[in-house]
Amino acid sequence: MTFSGEFLAFMGLALVALIGGVLLLNLTKVVHMVVALIFTFVAIAGIYVLLSAEFVASVQVLIYSGAITIIMLFGIMLTKHDDENEPKTGKLRKLLVFLGILGFAFAVYIGIYNFNVEQEQTALHENNTMQIGKALYSKYIIPFELTSVLLLAALVGSIILAKNEKKEADDE
């Protein structure tokens, strides 16, 4: 293993992502947690670049670091009452979940450890956006359209769910 620039970049990004994740678990204020997660999302975008997926990386920055985080912050602000997230859940359950996750991670890690595939030269980084665009509008046109329908449905649904019916009833 050589300390190439790529490797250093990966290590740095991975470190940032993991620190963001650990902070998410350990911070006490909800807003801080969300902010910690922004680091993780951005770091993951960097990982995508390393994996020659520039378009996905930009989408990641836009959607996650931008949109979803903002939505979450909105949610927190709209519902905020006890900003403190005091841990009230049972210790036993936490332990059990921790053990389960440890076992799960161990089992999956065995799989990853044994994962070894010949690496091939790929052309993913050349005109990445154009490749995705071509694939989306030719091969994956139907899933693409379905996704747009889904997004529309989600949009309408969210509005209907979040709409304050009482107020509306009062207005009429």
Partner: protein, 622 residues
């Protein structure tokens, strides 16, 4: 007709089922259901019997269970003995059904009584046409159940309850013997079929010791059912049941089942001298033993019960002395006259509402029909020449003499004397003299009670003439026809035996006459009330008390010990298991918090567990 013999037991079963389902609605009419269906059985039985006179044995079977190479069969067989038993059982059953219509009148569980009667009759008829031991055993137990239900019919009476239990348990003891013997026989011959067992025994495929062992074990079963010593104590107690039941169970059918079993398996017993001797000794001992107890009992039904035990001992003695014909013959005649006596006794009880003979007396004039009929039965059982009992008893005495047991012969002779004595003691005390207690409204029983008695009375007189030394031994020749293993149809005995038997029974009657009628001999000449001998006899030789002290005490001790184990060990274990399950349940119900997160945690934890196990034990690593 014989191929339809299997229908005969089904009629009473049908009666049982109908009364079980609709008894409450039928009420008094249920008697007609029972009577009609047993009448159908009787008609079929008579047809079968007559057909069997001219045609060979009919037997059929089909595979019931197949286990590997083993074929357990079920079916039926109509041989001479079975045809005769069918006739006797269905006849007595029919008469008892008819009689009960009057006797049980007004009882609120009237339909139940008839249902039980149907069940019992079904079991008994099924028993006597079984072609193999296994089927016999099944019906044998059903008979036990039927008798249990009938004896305990007045279940609100403590004595009846106890008597029913006692009858069931005592016969069960014998049944265990029968069961072991049956399995041993199966082990040896690989078959439950009578014919195959006899063939194997004939061919010498079974060792002599094994034959003796199985024969005696099976005989233990017969001892239990037929109330032979030492398992006789249930029979007198069983008199707590309704009197028609006593006539049905304890005269003609159930107690005869033991004798029937020995007779049906006679070739097996005949192959072992030891087994035969055992039967003969037990029979003779029971005969004199029970007769001596019968001398002093004061309950009319108990006297008859001990007389039954004694007469059954006679039959066993006959069979044990290789007198197959004599045993079966006496079984038949005894069924008639003992059923008659029981029904007549029932009629007396019906009239005076007491069973104590010391409180009766002078009933001859009041019971114009019952009296003479009772006299006929008494004469028959005493062995007065000309009546049925005389011929069959004579056959038995001849068989005992010819069988080479002079001691047993004399025992039987003494028992015959006692029989005549106590039967006439009973008769004189009940029917002659002055009434010894206030008796109001003494009246003759209704017709449906007297007609069966009249029919039985006729049979008690004439039934003996089918097998006599004078007019030919038709029954005996027919019974052993085509079956040399059963011995001869008629054994010509010395003439003095007949004379001796007659003298002995007449002497018994005369003695009883002197003592209880003319009173020229005081009643306490030999042994009065309060004397040691009298007390011992009155307490039935303390056999019950002996059992109480030994077997019952031991069993009770064992039961307490086992109960201790049960309470502290088994129950503790059970409670432990229950506790664990309850704890699990509580934990499980606590988990049902309604929170999605908890559900998710549990589901995930289980998934992780599975994945880990999968990873550790192989899975994609291999």
């Amino acid at each position: 007709m014989m191929e339809n013999a299997w229908l005969i037991p089904l009629f009473p079963l049908l009666s049982f089922l109908i009364l079980l389902l609709f008894g409450k609605r039928l009420k008094e009419a249920s008697a007609y259901v029972g009577i009609l269906l047993t009448l159908a059985s009787l008609v079929f039985s008579i047809l079968v019997l007559f057909e069997r006179f001219s045609e060979p044995t009919y037997s059929t079977k089909f595979d019931w269970l197949t286990i590997g190479d083993l074929h357990l069969t079920a079916g039926f067989e109509v041989n001479q003995l079975n045809a005769l038993m069918l006739f006797i059982v269905s006849l007595v059953s029919f008469l008892v059904h008819t009689y009960s219509k009057g006797y049980m009148n007004g009882d609120e569980r009237f339909p139940v009584f008839y249902a039980y009667l149907g069940l019992f009759t079904f079991a008994m008829l099924g028993l006597v046409i079984s072609p193999n031991l296994l089927q016999t055993y099944i019906f044998w137990e059903l008979v036990g159940v039927g008798s249990f239900l009938l004896i305990g019919f007045y279940y609100y009476k403590e004595e009846a309850k106890a008597a029913a239990k006692k009858a069931f348990i005592m016969t069960r003891i014998g049944d265990v013997g029968l069961f072991i013997g049956m399995i041993l026989l199966f082990w040896e011959t690989k078959s439950f079929e009578y014919s195959e067992i006899f063939a194997a025994v004939d061919a010498g495929a079974v060792s002599g010791t094994m034959i003796t062992l199985t024969a005696i074990l099976i005989f233990i079963g017969a001892v239990g059912k037929s109330g032979q010593f030492p398992l006789h104590t249930w029979l007198p107690d069983a008199m707590e049941g309704p009197t028609p039941v006593s006539a049905l169970i304890h005269a003609a059918t159930m107690v005869a089942a033991g004798v029937y079993l020995v007779a049906a398996l006679f070739p097996l017993f005949a192959a072992s001298k030891t087994a035969l001797l055992t039967i003969a000794v037990i029979g003779a001992f029971t005969a004199i033993f029970a007769a001596s107890i019968g001398l002093v009992q004061t309950d009319i039904k108990r006297v008859l019960a001990y007389s039954t035990v004694s007469q059954l001992g006679y039959m066993m003695l006959a069979l044990g002395s290789a007198g197959y014909v004599a045993g079966v013959f006496h079984l038949m005649t005894h069924a008639f006259f003992k059923a008659l006596l029981f029904l007549a006794a029932g009629s007396v009880i019906h009239a005076v509402h007491t069973q104590n003979i010391e409180e009766m007396g002078g009933l001859w004039k009041k019971l114009k029909l019952t009296g003479p009929l009772f006299l006929i039965g008494t004469l028959a059982i005493s062995g007065v020449p000309g009546l049925s009992g005389f011929f069959s008893k004579d056959e038995i005495l001849v068989a005992a003499w010819e069988g080479g047991h002079p001691i047993l012969f004399f025992l039987a002779l003494i028992a015959a004397f006692m029989t005549a004595f106590y039967m006439f003691r009973l008769f004189f005390l009940v029917f002659t003299g002055e009434a010894r207690s206030e008796q109001k409204h003494v009246h003759e029983s209704p017709n449906n009670m007297t007609y069966p008695m009249i029919l039985l009375g006729v049979l008690a007189v004439i039934a003996g003439y089918v097998n006599t030394p004078w007019f030919g031994s038709f029954l005996g020749d027919w019974l052993v026809d085509g079956n040399p293993a059963l011995g001869h149809g008629h054994v010509e005995g010395p003439i003095w035996i007949m004379i001796a038997a007659t003298v002995v029974s007449l002497a018994g009657i005369y003695f009883a006459y002197l003592m209880y009628r003319k009173r020229s001999i005081a009643r306490n000449t030999i042994s009065g009330t309060g004397d040691t001998l009298h007390t011992i006899l009155l307490n039935k030789y303390y056999v019950d008390e002996f059992y109480q002290l030994t077997v019952v005490a031991f069993t009770k001790g064992l039961s307490y010990f086992l109960r201790f184990i049960d309470v502290f060990l088994v129950e503790g274990l059970v409670k432990g298991v229950v506790g664990i399950v309850q704890g699990l349940g509580r934990t499980g119900s606590k988990m049902q918090t309604g929170q999605v997160q908890t559900y998710g945690a549990v589901a995930f934890f289980s998934l992780a567990l599975l994945v880990v196990i999968f990873a550790l034990t192989g899975g994609y690593l291999r």
